[in-house]
Amino acid sequence: MSFEMLLSNAAALVVVVPLLGGAIAMLLGSSRLAWSWSLICALVTFSLALVLLAGVLGGQNISYEMGAWVSPLGILFEIDALNVLLITLVSAMGLLALLYGLPTIDQEVDRHQHAMFFGTFLICVAGLIGVSITGDAFNVFVFLEVSSISTYVLVAMGSKQNRQALTASFNYLILGTIGATFFVIGVGLLYMATGTLNMADISRVLAETGSDRVVRAAFAFIVIGLGLKTAMFPLHTWLPNAYAFSPSMIGVFLASTATKVALYMLIRFLYSVFSAGQSFETAMFDYVLAPMAVTAMIVCSVQASFQSDVRRLLAYSSVAQIGYMLLGLSMGTVAGLAAALIHLFNHALMKGALFMAVGIAGLGLGVVRISEMRGLGKTMPLTAAGLSIAGLSLMGVPLTAGFISKYYLVIAALERGWWWAVVAIVVSSVLAIFYVGRMIEVMYLQEPPKTTDDAAVTVRSPILPLIALYVLVIANVWFFFDPSLPMGLANTAANELIGGGGS
């Protein structure tokens, strides 16, 4: 197999490698073997994603015909500025989550289940990459379900720690399936109106024929279906428990990728398939999406402030942060969409780091509640520092990536004349200062609980999780000083989608 052959098929292999890798991983008897194998697969996947990233940064979009069948007969993979960053993000987070996960999984999942667990995890990674990469509306559904069903299973694996993982997983399953079914109804209606499933082709036909009632209904069903998967404000009820009770490695991975992929799909449909600027779409943006986004930003931040369980706090904050992204995309402007995309990327970095830090604290000291984080700055200084930096990024403090995305979001809102959105961003940020500040206060200003030998002992953290954590923490700072990668891609994507390149 020549190297060139590998590169020219990178688009397919970036999905196929983790899929087949997962099927092999489940058969490996030993836990360590399965983990190492999964790590290798994730590394290969990440490298393939980098190949795609390099290709797109080189200025050319990649399309790949599955089975060499021409579109619209076959399924087409399309990689452009919009999804290449997401593909890289998902594969990178898959790799980091695995790197992070070994000690936590040892504690949280029975050892004889490890091989199957890692296999399912790889399949989940592949499913999310598949959703991001495909250009076929029905193929989106298939890979959405690959990722969702594996996610339900992975969340349920938290049941050894807490039985609530089971109900969390079940609720997620019910709402996720309703969402997927709504999405299928929407795709079916689109197919009814256009006769094709390729998203570019649907968009072409729609531009020719215009929209009728069927298209409008399709639009509504797809938005609700993907909205459920994105945890769009009133449809977010499945999220907090699913993130809080899953094994911590899964919490890390889901919080940084799952909703992002669904959100990406929403952007793809809103801006690329249904060409933006149609009157019903603008009305939906102004009167439904934007108000819901603002409500989420405030209400869920308040809810986050009242949580005593750290991971539930972070999960509610996630719903609020999704509100920021929805706000950006509902502006319908290049600046707004670009800000949403940048925040999508940055939020993955900060939430991944936060969930990792909390997981490490849980590993060392069994921390579940905020009150149990007392004196973490002394007992686990590295973890506490990482948690604080990521927390500052979540607040949007300068010198962190979080500042960049909030800055651009505010600029975009002012440009659009949405002063109320600016107010909402400020209010939500103040609330973030409150709930993150509470964690920092408990960690640094309170004394650690008295141990038996009457001294605050420094708890040694396992090295691999710390490495993974610090990769993300450094990324959080790095992308403040050099945000050119996400910004360049986000601007290109937003221009392609809105500036006439869309249809």
Binding site: A68, W69, V70, L73, F138, F141, V142, E145, I149, Y152, V153, A156, S159, R163, Q164, L166, T167, S169, F170, L173, I174, T177, I178, A180, T181, V184, I185, G188, Y191, M192, L197, S308
Partner: protein, 159 residues
């Protein structure tokens, strides 16, 4: 009246879909919820399949297929196929060469999609039922409100 006859099936299917959705969201029983999901999905399948039906057509299993090897291939390779397909179908519906030889078939594409969807549906169901079994073992009930009550009690005791 023609409109009624031509769209009656959609209305019934929509009613069925909504019946399924109603079962999912109204019941607190976890098994019945999954039954509702099944109803909802099966009705969506009916929507797809009923839009694939062509009046007077037969199932998409080709009746007259040139014997293997003797077929006059319009395309040997995929690149040629690109060139020929639009000519045969999209551009000129009444093309001189009709590969289907006058037989009308129903649309096969929705069938394929629904085959996939059925399988995805049963996969979800299997995972869902497995969860229900474990929930029952953990809580002793499969009613949502009873589960919430049990968790609420623990929450109150903890704080």
């Amino acid at each position: 009246m023609d409109f009624f006859v031509g769209h009656f099936n959609y209305w019934v299917i929509i009613t069925l879909m909504m019946t399924g959705l109603y079962v999912v969201i109204s019941t607190g029983n976890l098994v019945k919820k999954l039954v509702g999901i099944g109803l909802f999905q099966t009705s969506v399948f009916q929507l797809y399949i009923s839009l694939s039906k062509v009046r007077g057509a037969q199932p998409p299993i080709l009746e007259k297929l040139p014997k293997y090897g003797s077929a006059e291939k319009t395309s040997q390779t995929v690149t040629e196929l690109t060139a020929t397909i639009p000519q045969v179908t999209a551009l000129d519906p009444a093309s001189v060469y009709d590969p289907l030889m006058g037989v009308v078939y129903s649309n096969p594409l929705p069938h394929v999609l629904i085959l996939t969807a059925i399988v995805v549906g049963v996969a979800t169901l299997a995972v869902g039922l497995a969860l229900v079994v474990r929930i029952r073992e953990a809580y002793g009930t499969i009613e949502e409100d009873a589960i919430d009550e049990a968790e609420y009690k623990i929450e109150v005791n903890a704080s």
